[in-house]
């Protein structure tokens, strides 16, 4: 019975939703406070691995990602603020290391794009509906109605 329960537990643990947790990097750090640990997880999700570019440093097994995690841990324990740690990383690896880059000349289009596209879509819809309502309103003018009356009254042959 114990064995069956163990198997079920293992199966549950390996179920698809668990894979991303269990296959990610396994390391142990002794944090001096739960708050530091929470910030460690948040920052390691947000920092991008310079080597394997579409992973954050929490998920990546690249040596450089491991180095950055160690630095992150040491700086958190040394009392650095989130902004200081991000500035440290950006000074060395550029805005690229942040999944939420700051606003500058290179990233302004990135930040503005959703708003711009939304505005463009809204403009398109506006023009579309205005044209359609214009067409509807011009469908029957007074002269049209008069013409219909005239046709209806015309004696049939």
């Amino acid at each position: 019975m114990v064995a069956v329960r163990a198997v079920i537990l293992v199966l549950l643990y390996c179920s698809p939703w668990a894979v991303c947790n269990t296959w990610a990097v396994v390391e142990t750090y002794d944090f001096s406070s739960p708050d530091l640990e929470r910030r460690y997880h948040a920052l390691s999700q947000e920092l991008r691995c310079p080597k394997c570019q579409n992973q954050n440093i929490a998920d990546s097994n690249a040596p450089i990602a491991r180095d950055l995690r160690v630095v992150l841990f040491e700086q958190l324990e040394a009392g650095a603020s989130d902004d200081e740690i991000l500035a440290f990383m950006v000074a060395r690896y550029g805005e690229f290391v942040r999944y939420r880059p700051g606003m500058d000349r290179n990233t302004v289009l990135l930040w503005a794009a959703p708003g711009l596209l939304l505005a463009l879509g809204a403009l398109g819809l506006f023009i579309h509906f205005r044209q359609r309502s214009a067409e509807v309103s011009t469908a029957l003018t007074d002269s049209d109605k008069a013409e219909i009356e005239r046709l209806l009254r015309e004696p049939r042959v």
Partner: protein
């Protein structure tokens, strides 16, 4: 009304232009954050002498700083070209990045030593301050000790003549080095 017909065509041309531009961008090449700044301070042992050195030891300028390691296959590929550069009088400083120092000394005695000196960086801390994310990488220190250029990947004659000529004027050597350059062109960068 007539102009409306051309909207899809214009959209297509713009999109195709952007995508075509994207083909020629190498996404693995990151902009170097340290460009225009002084080489970071450090205090590390030197590989062959073991004495502690600082950034003042990088005195010959302009110079190259080459990030290498014995575990890095591409470093072996570019090594003969570094020796050729050193023979032509280009000062090269090595950053032995996250390596075993005994293996590194053996490598230099077997393959030749193009370096003025080598900074031992077992922990990768100098590399971290420099923004290194793999090997090989090669930096140009200009006459003031400012980081003026970074090349990621194998350094060969083609790259050197194209990107490094503002700091070093070398006559293009004979065709034999060219053959080597083609081989290294596809040499994968190893982390």
């Amino acid at each position: 009304m007539q102009a409306k017909k051309f909207i899809p065509l214009v959209a297509f041309v713009i999109l195709a232009g952007l995508l075509f531009r994207g083909l020629s961008i190498d996404p693995t090449e990151l902009p170097a954050a340290r460009l225009g700044q002084f080489f970071p301070e450090f205090s590390q042992p030197e590989l062959s002498t073991g004495r502690s050195i600082s950034v003042e030891a990088l005195a010959l300028r302009p110079a190259l700083v080459n990030v290498w390691a014995t575990w890095c296959y591409s470093c072996r590929v570019e090594h003969p070209y570094l020796i050729a550069l050193a023979q032509q009088g280009v000062p090269i400083y090595g950053l032995n990045y996250k390596d075993d120092s005994a293996k590194a000394r053996e490598w230099l005695s077997q393959l030749g030593d193009p370096y003025q000196l080598n900074i031992v960086d077992v922990e990768g801390s100098v590399g971290l301050d420099l923004g290194v994310y793999g090997a090989p990488e090669t930096y140009v220190l200009d006459a003031d000790g400012v980081i003026a250029h970074r090349h990621v990947g194998v350094l060969n004659e083609e790259v050197f003549l194209r990107d490094f000529s503002p700091w070093f004027s070398l006559a293009a050597s004979s065709g034999e080095a060219r053959g080597g350059a083609e081989l290294t062109e596809s040499g994968a960068r190893v982390e």
